[in-house]
Amino acid sequence: MAGRATLAAFIAELRTVGLPVSVSENVDAMAAVLAMPIADRAALKSALAATLVKSADHYHAFEVVFDLFFGDSRVGISDLTDPAAGTAAANGQAAAANGAGRTGIVAGLSDSDLDDLLFRAVLAGDQVLIRAVMAEAVSRYAEVEPGRPVAGVYYLYRTLRRLDMDRLLARLLASDNPADLSDMDRALAAERRRGQVAGIRTEAEAEIRRRLVADRGAAAVARTLRVSLPEDVDFLNASAEQLAAIRQAVQLLGRKLAARLVRKRRHHSRSALDFRRTIRQSLANGGVPADLVFRKPHPSKPEIMLIADVSSSVAAFAAFTLQLADAFSSEFSRVRSFAFTDGIEEITDDLSSAPDIAAAVRRISSRPGVVRLDGHSDYGMVLESFWERWGPQIRTKTSVIILGDGRSNYHASRSEVLRSIRQRARHLYWLNPEPANTWDTGDSIISEYGKYCDEVVECRNLRQLKEFVEALD
């Protein structure tokens, strides 16, 4: 079972990643580990997960760190020869075809036979064999260099390139495509195969991490690897999986914020005394104000105009913000969205009819009205045409929010237009997805625009976006 020192280091790493682990939870974790009657890895993981991870969003980060610190108790290569030989013999093909003995069955194979064995292992759904093959593949192809402080991304790339996942998937799909299968079966089988191939990738990743940990120790690897929680992932540098995680989180966040706002409104429903009507009412009782009359609650439902830069550099950020605005649009009297690169167009209707906002934004970002010349953002031009076409519609209840990095590719800024917008609107905010220390570097002229805004907010991740939206009224 885990030593105390390992557990302490493990919890320290969780805290560094950003999981809020309190002292009492730390104590609970220890008690939970001791209360488990069996001492295998799954039991340990359950005990730690139940006591340390209190939010589903954090589970992935926990898993990665757990694998780093307690991963070596998984089945190692040396244990694998026996079961591998056993299953291979049961399959009757791999062992016979290669004539390999009990030991080194995997290590003795040629590269193409290894491909073949992997294919068969996946076909048979044999997890133990897959793991053995991946261990061998990592030894052969990843060219792990001892002592180098890397996260292993390149090792993974090298391994998977040599194994050629696309070809493997194609082979798998071809193998279960006999004519007697119905369309439905085929579609479902394809889905399953894709899942399996993704599983191989995970397996390779885990294997490489095990090597790294064996080489440099868990704490050191954790430092180079350091996964971010979904709410801390930078919008601009997020990977595809991280974007998917953020998209899910945004949906949930929208719902939560809406529920919170409704609650807040309800709590403050008792508003000021309506003095005139109270006195009027009191006349019926001979001047005694028996019934107090209160003013009707008048929730301020601002109108929002979102002006989003959808040029490629910041499109992901714009999509999330638009998605979030859409998720609780019921809390505003109206949300109007505009998209621009070097031209601008209203996209409110496109978004309201689109089932998937992110996809809609991608589509919109190449539309002729939005792209006028080359699709590089031209803030000055855009502000001016916004002011001309929609300026008169800005009312005193309207909050204007501009989403963009303020990099106008050395075009004229026309910041005086922004001043006119500010004068008409109730609020003018600018959300910038770039880190604040890079503002005003290169072609960024954010502070020139910032002069006329109520506030320029750094909005690099979900946490900051959430804070901004919560403060909005």
């Binding site: 069996i38 119905s182 369309d183 889905e191 089932p355």
Partner: protein, 314 residues
């Protein structure tokens, strides 16, 4: 860990001869009452009992959160006390309430009695008698939380949909959850003689407070793995064909991978499986799948999207 420490730990832990035995026995017991847990679920339930801590269960709707608590009660033969949370739930409905009608009666009786009696009434003494009398346990109405604490035999307490409570009311639970006691100003503190097994469920419609989360073990019930879901289908829809069960779960899984407003849950998988079983179908064709999408999906836009995707695959 040194030997001495290990020895101390063993003494400190003194693995209680719990009602659930071990994670394996927990899993076994749950299976017998028709709930199919995986290793993690069984372990967390076991830990909850072993550490005497409440288990907070979160997850998408329809993944068996409430069912888990009910099944634990069923398997261990304990009584289930359920507190359904809603906005506006207060102390009087969650903890306890004084039975004021009965108190009034008691007062009236004490006023009537001395007049009939021979000795002259001693006003002060009789009032203090009455007062201590009407604030005794006899006049206390137990609501679910207090009932669970006062119960002489062990019980399972299910606090359902705790995320619907107002943030302020959530604090009501804290004393019960951490110390298994309820403080009643007029009466003192009622402490549990038997630690109840507590389960809280949440649909994640808002973030629960840190204080509440800290007192609980956390269990996230996600959609089950393909194998487990098939097993669930087979056990809940007896007589269903192997192939149909596999296809139904496969179909549901591929729908879950889509970006839908409301993803189909386990209960919807079961609905679809029993629908197809009752219709006498033996395999799912795309036409049939599109035709029965309304069983799985609850939004028109989701149905359209899924239908488009299913027919496109052909």
């Amino acid at each position: 860990m040194t030997d001495q420490q290990a020895g101390e730990d063993a003494a400190a832990r003194a693995v209680r001869p719990g009602r659930l035995g071990s994670p394996e026995r927990t899993a076994q017991g749950l299976r017998e009452v028709g709930y199919l847990p995986d290793q993690h679920i069984a372990s967390v339930v076991y830990l909850g009992e072993q550490l005497a801590k409440p288990v907070l269960i979160e997850g998408p709707a329809g993944t068996g959160k409430t069912e888990l608590a009910k099944s634990v009660a069923l398997m261990s033969g304990m009584r289930l006390i359920r507190l359904q949370c809603y906005e506006g739930l207060d102390e009087a409905k969650a903890l306890y309430e004084w039975n004021y009608r009965k108190q009034l009666l008691r007062i009236q009786v004490s006023q009537a009695a001395p007049a009939a009696g021979p000795q002259p009434p001693d006003e002060a003494a009789s009032w203090s008698d009455v007062e201590s009398d009407i604030f005794s346990e006899e006049f206390l109405l137990s609501r679910p939380l207090l009932a669970a604490i006062r119960s002489p035999e062990p019980v399972v307490l299910l606090i359902d949909e705790v995320d619907r409570l107002d943030v302020e009311t959530e604090a009501l639970l804290l004393e019960v959850l951490s110390d298994y006691q309820v403080s009643i100003p007029e009466l003192g503190t009622v402490t549990a003689t038997q630690t109840p097994l507590v389960f809280l469920t949440s649909n994640n419609s808002r973030d629960l407070s840190e204080a509440l989360k800290r007192r609980c073990l956390y269990l996230y019930l996600d959609y089950p793995s393909a194998e487990r879901e098939q097993e669930i289908v087979r056990s809940r829809v007896p007589g269903i064909g192997e192939r149909l069960a596999e296809q139904v779960t496969g179909l549901v899984r591929s729908l879950r991978a889509m970006d839908l407003k409301k993803r189909p849950s386990v209960s919807e998988t079961l609905d679809l499986a029993s629908t197809l079983f009752l219709l006498g179908e033996e395999e799912v064709t795309p036409q049939l799948a599109v035709g029965t999408l309304h069983v799985l999906l609850k939004y028109q836009s989701d149905i359209e999207k899924a239908a488009a995707e299913l027919t496109a695959k052909r």
